[in-house]
Symmetry: C2
């Protein structure tokens, strides 16, 4: 069982979802393509960690909706108790910035501008996510506690928002450096 498998189980603790939906919703936490997710779901099903039902849809193609089993929840709890791997970040931009002196200021500015747009779009998405969370919650989000269903998602979106804000501040700082 790899980390992504446990990630899928984690998502399924909140909602039953199809493979396609899981693929979409796990992106902020663990980037993965559908070609990796579908085989893992089949494995998880074989092990009894998840179960699925066919769900017919009139407006869209039919889907297989997966739910976590009690056995799956046990596996999750065991995994959480294990030592946590350190985060891995791979950003091509940092490698390019390292040797930015190879190109001129104008090209450097352009490169950073593209990334800034990416960060701004990302921030927008997190803002929308936070709004959606608030609408679905009876409590104000900052009063959520560990027992509440939305707690994990809330604190992660908060973390992601803090990070993207920091990234945008760095972009502004870089713009001044490249004036």
């Amino acid at each position: 069982m790899n980390t992504l498998s446990y990630g899928l189980l984690s998502l399924l603790t909140k909602n039953s979802r199809s493979g396609y939906e899981l693929m979409q919703h796990i992106q902020p936490f663990w980037s993965a393509k559908h070609s990796q997710i579908y085989p893992l779901l089949a494995q998880l099903e074989q092990k009894g960690h998840v179960a699925f039902v066919h769900v017919a849809q009139s407006d869209k193609p039919d889907k297989k909706v997966y739910s976590i089993t009690e056995q799956g929840k046990d596996a999750l709890r065991e995994w959480i108790a294990m030592p946590t791997d350190e985060p891995v970040t791979r950003d091509e931009l940092s490698l390019k910035v390292y040797c930015i002196g190879l190109v001129d200021k104008e090209q450097a500015r352009m490169m950073l501008a593209v990334r800034e747009v990416y960060y701004k779009k990302k921030k927008e998405r997190f803002n929308l996510l936070m709004d959606k969370l608030q609408q679905a919650s009876e409590k104000p989000l900052d009063q959520l506690e560990i027992g509440d269903d939305a707690f994990g998602m809330y604190v992660l979106v908060h973390k992601a928002t803090m990070k993207v804000d920091t990234d945008l501040i760095w972009c502004e700082w870089m713009k001044k450096k490249l004036t």
Copy 2:
């Protein structure tokens, strides 16, 4: 040529280094094991992007010191001009935090405490790095410009410091949430 290959070339624009040194110095920007780096260096050498000399050492085993060639620099400039891949972050902790409600507050606090220690050590390393950069520089670091050799490294360490500070603020915020 994959991204890590270009990353190795990037490092070599500043200093000639051995595979072992490259492996150590690329970690903050792109995590990779020596078993991935040595074969790539051999490929880069075959393509004429780098060249190496054997360097005998009395206090340590001998090493192969690689330098970037003009051809390698051309390849780097071409790569910088290409669209930049989006950053990929994979953090097992975020998956565990998502379903943190499965375990009790005490276990959650412990998990976060381990990560906080990791962030603090990381911050310490970046502080030392920044000190080392300042000592090696004639100018104050905040006056470095794109043409200066240390510029890229400086702005990246600054970015990394900002990020780890944000991570530590989130840890403090989480501690309150888990009181």
